[in-house]
Symmetry: C2
Subunit: 173 residues, 2 copies
Amino acid sequence: MAIILGIDPGSVKTGFGIIKVDGNRHEYVTSGVIRLPITEDLPARLKVIHDSLQEIIQTYSPRFVAVEQVFMAKSAGSALKLGQARGAAIVACVTSGLEVAEYSALQIKQAVVGTGAAKKEQVQHMVKVLLKLPAVPQEDAADALGAAICHANTRSGLLNLSGVTSIRRGRMR
Amino acid sequence: MAIILGIDPGSVKTGFGIIKVDGNRHEYVTSGVIRLPITEDLPARLKVIHDSLQEIIQTYSPRFVAVEQVFMAKSAGSALKLGQARGAAIVACVTSGLEVAEYSALQIKQAVVGTGAAKKEQVQHMVKVLLKLPAVPQEDAADALGAAICHANTRSGLLNLSGVTSIRRGRMR
């Protein structure tokens, strides 16, 4: 049994989702969105991401963290903001002693829907189905849960969950 | 008397510089460059930035932190990497209870050289002169020291140093 935290970092909202994995069974634990105080300055906003995630980590004690990898952003400006949010989120996890695995959007779509060409709505729908949720979770929370499901479903993830080996970045060591 | 930490975050090297300010007197304390292990994955690299800066903060107990503000990067890819490094660096400071002020390159050049049109080499030269250094410091360290000098020299910075008021983002509160 392993608890996985998925994170979808963003400069306005950061989604998170926690699932419990036991063999092939995925169980929903919690999910939500950390809304950043847009009236505050950058350091204060990054502190909110960091502190909120550390609180979530302390409360639910996940063993693994999965974050969506970003290859391209719309513009240099939005990439900088997204990068700052990712940096704050990842630091919150590594300073808590957690291993952080990054998965591409393609890997997450493949793991959740079965095809890398899946649309956002299909990912959200399958997250609802796979975790037996009463309704489709909020977009950022669904993306975070998708990353967590991806970590559980990838071969390396499964190996790691069963304690066969340790992984980082989805690769076996 | 106040100790100011200047940081020049980067995804390959992160410069830092510490100065001691007493009225109009600036005294060099230390500076250097945190080199990131490029063979490691992103979470491990961000942890190096975070942990190194927290160690520096614990060792020198700065009261203020100044970071160069970034408006534009060369590309979305480099902006994302820079953003992640900035996020890790800023989180290391705010979780240590420090206020982080951001200054534009223009503000730093004006504060150090006296003109916003100054070239990089002029900033480095003036950092050497102002801090009475035997040689020009390494580029990233010089930029970090420049940010620290800028914080000390700005009106809001001076007000803050003398305990008249508290500032954030260079604005009086």
